[in-house]
């Protein structure tokens, strides 16, 4: 389309246009919003894990200074329905092909009959300040009849278990099975078998900005504006409109600058509906900014899966059969249904050739904070299983773990590779390109080479020091549907306006898409005006989750631009009195190919496109110069990476230090290398946090023990090493730009790479690490038990 001799912007590490306002302190986050006569909300949250609400007395709270309104769940239930139960619809292709049973407990905006987790809100106070609202919230008197709590998903499935959602009569709210080949038969026939349990524990996104919602009602137009720190403005708008009985055209949802999301802001929460409702009811803007204590007990947690696997393999370490039965502890509600759980199933096979595979999964309700996707969304759990299995096979056969992987890996010449099971969009999984063995080599080289490490490890062992190397490989389906939209419009000024429902939280989308549009239209990035995360700018949108926005929005922009270019050329041809086929885009103009002086600026074409007298359009061409295109991806496109970690373990204290860490990564065509690296490193450090530090802990009564950032520990700069990166590029065949998603990938492999590295470091003690996070105390215990095992071996005694 555009003249080829220009240096493309795609592929350049352009500096970000977002930076200026953020560095000056002029970013605007939802907490910064000040509106005239604004009121502040505070929620009253359950101190109990599971209880019937006998009574809620709001009298003292209502009389407190500065209070405008107090509301309990019982009163609210008369006014508003529950959150609609299908936040993510499952495509019919998937529903007909996959054996499934799904129940979806609906969450009331405020708990009325029962509280089902510590932190569930059952009343709300609105007052002149957050300080006053918290004072009043402390005066709400509630009487509870405690019920026994379900805190373990296996216990939750026992016949005698307390039931979280009595209307179902069970805590088993979802069950799925997927199979390929004959796993049982292949397991029976396999020369070797192993059986293990793995637990990938409960942790979460914890962005530095908590959630927040501001609602404002305009009585003149009967319209609501919602500002929410969300990743899904169109979902919020749709649910608010439905819940409050308003036309979507009268509800606008905007996400301002969002301080990190990583998935936890990726669905509609009760507060997204309740705050706008309160604003409309009170006729004054209402603001709710979640504080950190609340965040830990009501913003969704994630992961939390227990896997029981049986693996059959041969003497060369090749996997013959893979059977996984697992449980997901989804907490009290399940907003994204089977999303993450099915991701786990779809990603268990990973970059390997496994012909006989079966997975059965159950989602169990418990009295904990609800479970929703967080960066990786089910894939880290899969990686923990498969990558630990690789190392366990290696240990059994006394092979190098890297060699076991090589023998199982799908080779580049086998691409495109049909996995034999479906993705959650209902399409057959086809790995669309990539070189997994090469990535493995690159990652190992980037940490200094395997042979060199083994020499160093032996020397260190002689000195009483324990070094270990661990690998984590994964494949990742990215750029999922159902769709994303783009409006592309050329202004009379010559600027190109692009609007989309994508919702950034720090990824640098304004920069990336200005690079893409600049290349498509042969303009400068500064001439591209971008509107994101605003339902007023484009009628339909999906939002930013699941590593999808670069893929889906670039494709939507491409297709909208294709159509718009045809129209632009038709009008320009009319102005220049030539044929469309003679034209090209060059430097903000439409010009005749080979005739430098004969061109018309895009802005002039836009003016000519206007309706009315003396327009410049040829007959049959409608007025206006914009196109909206909703791109529906054929299916996901497949990124992958290999992580390698070298650790040193202090067997005295159990302390773990990551000495070196490398990622060899492929996300297809790269739009902005600097931003890609930032995403990979950021994700990797979050993954390291999940592997070593971050953990939600509950006691047997369902009390949350990790209610502050002193207890829920996140990695700091001195906990993580510098991370080396290596890149491969296998362009995607599924979208015009050839890009693949990468936002989540970094977080997938670190927990298992570290578990493998620690196990390797403690190989003399025959220690296994199949549960995350890896804690120093476990290391000390493993060393002690290993010493016992070794002593018994020396003595010829059964341990």
């Amino acid at each position: 389309m555009a003249e080829p001799s220009r240096m493309p912007y795609v592929g350049r590490s352009m500096l970000r246009r977002e930076d200026r306002r953020l560095l000056l302190g002029e970013g605007q986050y939802v907490g910064d919003l000040q509106l005239p006569r604004m009121l502040h909300a505070a929620f009253v949250r359950s101190p109990m894990a599971h209880a019937r609400i006998r009574s809620v007395d709001l009298a003292r709270a209502a009389a407190a200074p500065g209070v405008a309104l107090v509301l309990s769940g019982t009163e609210l239930a008369q006014l508003l329905p529950t959150i609609p139960d299908h936040q993510v619809s499952l495509p019919s292709k998937w529903r007909t092909a996959v054996r499934h049973h799904i129940l979806n407990p609906q969450q009331a905006l405020l708990a009325a009959d029962k509280v089902r987790h510590v932190g569930e809100a059952f009343a709300v106070v609105v007052a002149e300040s957050r300080y006053a609202a918290e004072d009043a919230a402390a005066l709400v008197e509630a009487q509870f009849d405690p019920l026994p709590a379900v805190v373990d998903p296996e216990d939750g499935l026992r016949p005698s278990a307390p039931i979280v959602h009595e209307q179902f009569g069970t805590n088993l709210i979802c069950e799925l099975a997927v199979a390929k080949g004959d796993a049982e038969g292949a397991l029976r026939d396999a020369p070797h078998r192993l059986q293990r349990r793995f637990h990938h524990h409960r942790y979460a996104a914890l962005p530095i900005e908590c959630r927040g919602v501001v609602g404002a009602y305009d009585a003149r137009t009967h319209s609501l504006t919602i500002w929410s720190a969300t990743q899904v403005v169109h979902w919020v708008r749709r649910e608010v409109a439905a819940t409050l009985g308003m036309p979507e055209a009268r509800v606008r949802c905007v996400a301002l600058d969002v301080g990190g999301g990583f998935g936890v802001k990726g669905h509609v929460y009760p507060e997204d509906l309740l705050i706008p409702f309160l604003a409309r009811r009170l006729g004054r803007p209402v603001k709710w900014i979640e504080d950190r204590h609340e965040h830990l007990m009501c913003s969704c947690h994630s992961r939390d899966q227990i896997h029981d696997v049986e693996i059959g393999f041969d003497g060369d370490g090749r996997i013959r059969a893979f059977h996984d039965r697992f449980l997901v502890d989804c907490g009290a509600f399940n907003p994204i249904g089977s999303g993450a759980m099915y991701n786990t199933i779809a990603h268990l096979i990973g970059p390997y050739r496994i012909d006989h595979f079966a997975a059965e999964a159950k989602i169990v309700a418990t009295n904990k904070v609800p479970n929703a996707p967080y960066r990786g969304a089910g894939r880290p759990e899969a990686a923990l299983v498969t990558e630990r299995v690789m190392d366990l096979i290696a240990a059994r056969l006394e092979l190098e773990p890297a060699e076991v992987r090589r023998r199982n890996m799908i080779r580049p010449e086998e691409m495109p590779y049909h996995l034999g099971i479906l993705y959650r969009d209902g399409e057959p999984i086809i790995y669309d390109g990539g070189d997994y063995p090469a990535a493995l080599e690159k990652a190992l080289i980037a940490v200094g080479g395997l042979a060199a490490f083994r020499r160093r490890q032996s020397e260190a062992r002689r000195e009483g020091r324990h070094l270990g190397i661990g690998i984590g490989c994964y494949t990742e389906g990215t750029g999922a549907g159902p769709f994303e939209g783009a409006t592309v419009r050329i202004e009379p000024s010559g600027k190109i306006f692009v609007a989309s429902g994508a919702c950034p939280q720090g990824q640098g989308m304004e920069t990336i898409f200005s690079q893409i549009v600049a290349d498509i239209w042969s303009v400068e990035p500064e001439d591209v005006v971008i509107s994101l995360a605003d339902t007023a700018a484009i009628p339909m949108g999906f939002g930013t989750i699941a590593s999808r926005s670069t893929v889906t929005l670039s494709a939507a922009i491409h297709h909208a631009s294709e159509r718009l270019r045809k129209k632009t050329f038709a009008i320009a041809a009319n102005l220049l009195e030539c044929g469309s086929e003679d034209l090209e885009l060059r430097n903000g103009m439409v010009g005749v190919i080979g005739v430098p002086g004969m061109a018309v600026p895009l802005g002039k074409v836009a003016q000519a496109a206007r309706p009315g007298w003396d327009h410049g359009r040829p007959p049959g061409v409608k007025a206006g110069l914009d196109e909206t295109y909703y791109w529906e991806p054929p299916t996901v496109t497949w990124s992958y990476a290999v992580h390698a970690a070298i650790v040193e373990v202090d067997v005295g204290t159990g302390g773990i230090k990551i000495e070196r860490y490398a990622v060899a990564h492929d996300c297809g065509v790269v739009v902005n290398p600097m931003l890609v690296e930032g995403q990979i490193i950021g994700g990797t450090v979050q993954g390291i946090g999940g592997g070593l530090f971050e953990r939600f802990a509950y006691d047997s009564d369902g009390q949350l023990l990790t209610g502050s950032l002193m207890d829920y520990m996140m990695p700091t700069a001195s906990d993580v090493p510098d991370i080396a990166l290596a890149h491969q590029h296998s362009p995607s065949p599924l979208n015009p730009l050839g890009v693949k998603g990468l936002g989540e990938g970094g977080a997938i492999a670190p927990p298992v790479a570290i578990a493998n590295a620690v196990a390797d470091a403690l190989a003399p003690f025959r220690a296994e690490f199949n549960v995350t996070p890896i804690m120093p105390e476990q290391i000390v215990a493993a060393v002690r038990q290993g010493a016992v095992k070794n002593t018994h071996t020396q003595l010829g005694v059964q341990p």
Binding site: A138, R292, H293, T653, A697, S708, M713, P715, T716
Partner: protein, 286 residues
């Protein structure tokens, strides 16, 4: 997470502060650095009726060396301690320990008196007071008294200070130039409270250990002296086997807490490991 309402006072003399403490009969809290108090108030774990802000009282922050005793005003900022030439010269153990205290911005506000009075079991400064056999000057309505470290820390977040008393000065004897000292701390991340820490000061004369002092943080409900372990060293010297024996004794002596970070057993194990490491390092410093 906003604090509840309180009456606010900013006295300009110590006597006025003490008078206010007496008036509120235990319902008021002193505000020194606020780095422990404000988080608790934001969580509404404590909601005092009144805050007595000590930050407007002049002359409560100083560091002086007087005849071999370093005297630090209670309101001396940890950051000031960290960069003080007097502390560097006479109290190297304190310099080493203070680098474990949280992070620079916390040390900008946190005070030495505040940390000691708060008596968090995992805090490093009470451990230093114990290891150096320091004392605090406490002032109340009846006047001033000296409280030795061993008499000050009574239990979890509890000192022997009366409800109407406040610390005005911390006194630490200068460490002899020939002594070796070391702090060994195990925490999950840099700057965290100690899961376990041991501070060691040893003075040797040839093969003999003429004085050994060992104190803990993070292990039990208060910082304690490991006196039985000290006795072993003072009796048998600083050889490898003696150090191992002393470390084993230390592990036996302590009453570890169990919490989310660590079990009793693990803390006991760390006591042994860290005591050994601290002693090995301390004895090699000359």
């Amino acid at each position: 997470m906003k604090p509840a309402i309180f009456e606010y006072h900013a006295p300009t003399t110590i006597d006025a502060a003490i008078g206010l403490l007496a008036r509120y009969q235990g319902e008021a809290r002193l505000l020194a650095g606020g780095q422990s108090l404000l988080p608790m108030m934001n969580f509404r774990l404590v909601s005092p009726a009144a805050i007595i802000d000590l930050n407007r009282i002049p002359d409560l922050a100083y560091i002086r060396n007087e005849n071999g005793t370093v005297r630090l005003g209670a309101m001396t900022r940890q950051r000031t301690v960290e960069f003080s030439p007097i502390v560097a010269k006479y109290l190297p153990l304190l310099v080493e320990a203070i680098k474990f205290v949280a992070h620079l911005p916390i040390r900008s506000r946190g005070t030495i008196g505040g940390s000691i009075a708060h008596a968090d079991p995992a805090a490093e400064l009470p451990m230093v007071l114990q290891a150096l056999e320091g004392e605090v000057v406490a002032r109340g309505p009846a006047g001033e008294r000296l409280i030795k470290a061993t008499d000050l820390f009574q239990g979890l977040l509890t000192t022997s200070l009366a409800p109407d008393e406040m610390i005005v000065e911390v006194r630490l004897a200068a460490i002899p130039a020939h002594a070796g000292c070391a702090v060994e701390e195990f925490a999950r991340r840099r700057g965290d409270f100690a899961i376990a820490a041991v501070a060691a000061v040893v003075e040797r004369a040839g093969e003999r250990c003429i004085k050994a002092r060992l104190a803990t943080a993070g292990i039990g409900s208060t910082s304690v002296r490991l006196t039985a372990a000290e006795a072993i060293l003072e009796r048998d010297g600083l050889g490898d086997t003696v150090i191992e024996e002393a470390a084993a004794k230390a592990a036996e002596m302590v009453s570890p807490l169990s919490d989310q970070q660590a079990s009793v057993e693990y803390r006991r194990h760390l006591t042994r490991v860290l005591t050994e490491r601290a002693l090995r390092r301390a004895r090699s410093i000359h």
